[in-house]
Symmetry: C3
């Protein structure tokens, strides 16, 4: 168990918690809650793998994501009020997850030779598609399209990773650098309520 | 034409009917009704095939699914009231379809070496993703996430099939056993209104 | 740069404009608007490529789609009122795009040996799935399922292309023939408000 893998699992827990909580809030049954946790946790990575032809995709290749999602779903299902009261902790874990998922996304892209812009898109896909599927399944316009610095943090992190890669910088250093950058940017923008511009068209 | 294939087509008819009826109820045009019928019928199998790298996926590999879906759409489009009045028949056919689709899903998973848990997930995907796509396309929270024993019947059926597989039991026997089990569990839970637990959070 | 490629890019601009406008109308942030533009423009082609095993899919294989979508998003974001007032122009470009996308879809299908009906389905997928994803992401029932001659124009165009293909007609001639046919059918049906039949069930 390497450090990146442990951080990846921490991010997976945070993503699964966010999926399971939405399931509980929408009064889904236990299967629905677990499904939403699993989709939120591995939807991004699975889409990424299918898009580059990495078969079998991560959901089948590493059962730890399934195990983590099921365990998290049990916990959230029975103690959801407790989880709701710890939102700050989970937003922090989620920001960490976003940082790690950015790196795994961009790395897979570079390994599968989809070019730097493709690799950056895969960073964004890995970091955001799970949450997008969660929102579609619960009949909401995806949060990631509406506000907050989230996908854009993954995009900037992906670009920095590519620059490090082409500059020949050691992978562990790039990992630490990009994960810290995405994590910090996300945390600061949460605290300062930073967001991208929006056109206000309704009166 | 083997018995499993005939049962598969019966399930396909039932899935296509459920898709076409939703299309008619949402006042979609004839293309929309046919599209919903086809997606409901082969959306699960097609997702399964793409996820394990079985190319071309079932929708292209066997045109009978397309033919059945188009014929069903014509019938439902012109005689939808007649179909609405036969819901009990279609729920029975649907339960049969769920049983057969469970077996095809888990078999493909074992053949493509995604491990037992992966094979069980593919049973659930094959049995439920078509209906999930139908609900997303008609702007509803997927029924399968909300109530009734549906995905969980496919999951249990998939686990039983894997146990039979590792115990070296003949495939035809496993097929009969699992299809009957899923069919019966689904029918009984429909009649008794069984469901998985839900957390009630609204007052 | 061949003529078909230029027409393809014109269609991509039109599809990206329609995505970006929906993003602005739903008050998404700049990332959301760009994402919707990109998904609308290449969602169909990317789904087609994944379904036939053409890896990497078009979104990664040709960056011009990404560049066009980002440039369009900037323009729509800052001058959306200007774009809204030019709807007739964009509907014309969109009809042209539908014609070109029909041909690319059916050609990929024939090249990847999915049979004529599979190739026709890929024409429809290439022409319509981008817009369908756009509508799902903005919590609307996909327009293409509800009214107007749109998917059916791609379907007829796909069938004509297959007939030309099996009759051994030159590809450039088939391209011109099918693109003009789909474009004209779409434009006429827009002007005459043609649509497929719908069952009216609400009082």
């Amino acid at each position: 168990m390497t450090i990146p893998y442990i951080l990846d699992m921490i991010g997976t827990v945070a993503f699964a918690v966010s999926g399971a909580l939405v399931g509980v809030r929408k009064e889904m049954d236990f299967y629905g809650v677990t499904f939403l946790a699993l989709v939120t946790a591995v939807g991004g990575g699975t889409t990424r793998d299918i898009m580059v032809g990495k078969i079998p995709p991560i959901i089948f290749a590493d059962y730890n994501y399934l195990i983590v999602s099921v365990v998290v779903s049990f916990a959230v299902f029975f103690y959801h009020k407790h989880f709701e009261s710890k939102m700050h902790l989970f937003l922090t874990m989620d920001a960490l997850g976003l940082g790690v998922f950015t790196v795994t996304g961009v790395s897979v892209g570079l390994a599968y030779d989809v070019g730097w812009a493709g690799a950056v898109m895969l960073a964004v896909i890995t970091g955001t598609f799970g949450g997008m599927f969660r929102d579609i399944l619960s009949k909401e316009i995806p949060l990631v399209l509406q506000k907050e610095i989230y996908a854009s943090a993954a995009m900037l992190g992906g670009i920095i990773y590519c620059l490090c890669h082409y500059a020949g910088i050691n992978k562990s250093i790039s990992f630490i650098l990009v994960t810290s950058f995405v994590f910090s940017l996300r945390m600061i923008s949460l605290r300062r309520k930073w967001g991208l511009p929006v056109v206000r068209i309704k009166q």
